[in-house]
């Protein structure tokens, strides 16, 4: 338990420089941030996205010819996992106004809004309601609330962070709804961290020019998720079905979305859902382990929604840049890949190499920060080895109490403190060892700013499954925001539309044809998709 004697010895080098670093930091001095050209060069040399085998061109479907991350192409270049012969489309098992696929933050926000519009809502989810990436978010949620900040500034920070590739209308929706979302969550009962005058705590995140990250201790996502889940459960016209994921979308003869085929994970039976409007909010895909990276994501993050939407004819965007979070756990090995929130750096902890030196501005955008860590470990040879053969850099968390007063770590990072204490490490006294981890799917399915699919009528998207909002790189705190902004928009739009939709007859021809095309192109060798659950049998992941 705890650090090995060898590691404790190495920590001495961090301790040796700590007092001087704290003193400088308290004076407001930091390691210099990089300029745009320097950032670009670093990224090209060290970011995983730029490795020669990172990407390949997809050979099938609406994005044929586009480059995407390799292991994601694997789940596109394969037939559907739906056993078509076991589905009877003439027998409808569930009938609803609005079907929501995926019960994370986006799904619950959508359910609440659709229910308030008077629609009957059926929320089908793969695991338990709220077992989701949303639950895991620690750091916070962005919104331009303070007078010195503005939605305009938030817009610019977001679009610059996304390398100017973001869909401007989606960013407008994101930043414009942001204060309304914070107010809504506050009224639903989210316990934001505030002072005695009601002023909410705000800190910086990578790439923000104003402090606008709101939080609930270091359990921001959990607090938001628990609140949204309870609020969704409280709606009399919301029905939740757990452990029953969607496997494919159903279209009708007019090409509109008709609902979905879902699978009962206990009995393995397929069921047919007929819905006047369908929202896909299935989240991300970290469990596909791009480039074999460990991940921060929950067990159900297998990219199902992307695959289903793709089979139905939706286009994807930005599936080439993947977000690696610079600070993933590398020690203890049991927690490998788990996130250490950016808030730790926000509170003043610095990344330090094996020599006890600072080597990077602590709050570069994530892709840059990650690249700098990889350079330190694999190019400059100043990484810290672990007993299981990994390598990482220190994140000097004891600085936090020195900067902000004894007890700050325990008060502001209670969950992280507990998680390390479980393994005998007191992070208010000892630094943590970190390395980049697979964190976030920057891209996803194309949509309009009312959350409607760009390609298929009656179909909506919200949350991490959607693409375009964040361009090539999402800023911290903009995702908890986007799931609420677009979850609310999707719920409202879908409920309104459901009043006038006329559905035709259901069909899975798109799946039959996708399978046929895959067969023709010889893309049949790998596991079928959506995969629904990762395969860890006999492994340690």
């Amino acid at each position: 338990m705890g650090y090995t004697p060898e590691m404790l010895e190495m920590i001495k080098k961090v301790e040796a420089t700590r007092a001087a670093r704290v003193e400088k930091k308290a004076r407001g001095e930091e390691f210099a941030a990089m300029g745009i050209d320097e950032r670009n060069e670093l990224k090209k040399k060290f970011h995983p996205d730029y490795k020669s085998d990172a990407l390949r061109k997809v050979k099938i479907g609406p994005n044929a010819g586009d480059e995407m991350v390799n292991k994601f192409v694997d789940v596109l270049e394969t037939p559907s996992s739906l056993e078509l012969d076991k589905v009877d489309l003439n027998k409808v098992d569930y009938e609803t106004d609005v079907l929501i696929i995926g019960g994370g933050g986006a799904g619950c926000a959508a359910a609440i809004m659709a229910a308030e519009e008077g629609a009957n809502v059926l929320l089908m989810t793969k695991l338990r309601l709220g077992d989701a990436n949303t639950m895991m978010a620690e750091g916070g949620i962005q919104a331009a609330v303070r007078a010195k900040d503005s939605p305009r500034t938030h817009f610019l920070d977001t679009i610059g962070g996304g390398h100017f590739k973001n869909e401007p209308e989606l960013v407008r929706a994101l930043v414009f709804d942001a204060p309304v979302v914070i107010d809504w969550l506050d009224r639903l009962g989210t316990m934001f961290t505030k002072n005695e005058k009601g002023v909410m705590m705000t800190i910086h995140g990578g790439g923000t020019s104003k402090k606008r990250m709101h939080s609930a201790a270091d359990m921001s996502g959990a607090e938001i998720m628990r609140t949204l889940r309870d609020a969704a459960r409280g709606k009399p016209n919301v029905t939740v079905v757990e452990f029953e994921p969607a496997v494919e979308l159903i279209l009708d003869d007019k090409g509109q979305c008709f609902g979905a085929v879902v699978k009962n994970l206990e009995t393995n039976q397929y069921k047919v859902v007929r819905a006047k409007a369908t929202i896909v909010s299935t989240g991300g895909s970290g469990r596909l382990h791009y480039q074999d990276f460990d991940t921060t994501n929950h067990y159900g993050a297998t990219g199902d929604g992307l695959v289903m939407a793709y089979h139905a004819g939706c286009k994807l965007c930005f599936m080439h840049p993947v977000q690696y979070h610079p600070t993933g756990v590398v020690y203890p090995a049991q927690n490998i890949g788990l996130l250490i929130t950016e808030k730790v750096r926000g509170l003043g902890a610095q990344p330090i190499n094996a020599e006890g030196e600072q080597f990077v501005f602590p709050k570069e955008p994530r892709d840059i920060e990650s690249s700098a860590f990889i350079r330190e470990c694999h190019d400059r040879g100043k990484g810290v080895p672990t007993p299981t053969g990994r390598v990482g850099v220190w994140l000097d968390s004891p600085m936090i109490d020195m900067l902000h007063g004894e007890g700050t770590v325990r008060r502001e990072l209670p969950a992280k403190f507990r998680q390390f204490m479980n393994h005998g490490i007191d992070i208010s006294r000892l630094p943590m060892l970190v390395y980049p981890t697979l964190h976030y799917q920057n891209g996803g399915v194309e949509m309009e700013s009312d959350a409607h699919s760009k390609q298929i009528p009656n179909l909506y998207f919200a949350g991490e499954v959607a693409g375009g909002i964040h361009g090539e790189n999402r800023l911290m705190g903009n995702s908890l925001l986007d799931i609420n902004v677009f979850g609310r928009r999707a719920g409202g739009s879908a409920a309104k539309a459901s009043r006038s939709v006329e559905l035709g007859s259901p069909s899975l021809t798109h799946v039959v044809e996708y399978n046929r095309e895959a067969g023709k192109k010889g893309l049949t060798g790998r596991v079928a998709a959506p995969i629904l659950l990762p395969d860890y049998v006999g492994k340690i992941k």
């Binding site: 639950m135 107010d183 506050d186 505030k194 009601g198 910086h204 009399p236 067990y299 006999g538 340690i540």
Partner: protein, 258 residues
Amino acid sequence: MSAEAKTKEKEEKVGLDLSKANFIDIYIMGKRYSVPDTLPIMKALEFCGYKLIRGVGCRGGVCGACATVYRTKGDPALKVALACQKVVEPEMYLAQIPFFPAGRAVYDDIEKMEPTAATVRGMYPEIAKCMGCNTCTKSCPQDLKVMEYISAALRGDIEKAARLSFECVMCGLCTTRCPANIVQPNVGILCRRLYGSRMAIKSPELARRVREIKEGKHDKPMDEVVAVAKKGVDKLRPLYEEVQKDKEPDSTPRFGED
């Protein structure tokens, strides 16, 4: 393939250097398995060949999906843990709890509810039957003072109940053991929502900004910047660099009012 290469391949597949691992025996639903002693229960289950459907979520100790009960040989005590956090112990007999029936009271609009003892007792009358046995506290994997938050709720000290239950992951382990049939996590979330919505002081600047947005004060600056964005990077980059140059220093207060 050489023996060495084979081990290497196995190692990569498994994700751990098995030759260096220390193996111990555990019993999953009564069957014996040998597993590396550094694994949390969840990874041990997978290592032994289980494909998990229930009993797994975040894998990081925050979602509460992985409630597990166990006994160790020779010790009569029934223990509880989160499978993703608890490291296996020798001679551990364990099973995961796939589902535990626990009712949620019927309520919808939290903003119309009073943050009082009467509200909480009305929703969950069984809390009055708490017999103070403290079993809930002893069974909480988060080390929360569960009995104390239930009694705070009973007294109508909603703020205390909210704060004491803040780190509740809603795993339901306390509920499985409570002789008074109390569903503690649901009492906790009710109190947190009542506190957050009805008692915590509202942010004055948030109210101001929401009003400004509704009044359309930010429409014009947004329209303008969106129009520039549509013209392309070259036009937009200078605006971005301008706001970045004006970056707020780290040293401004974290509860900055303006």
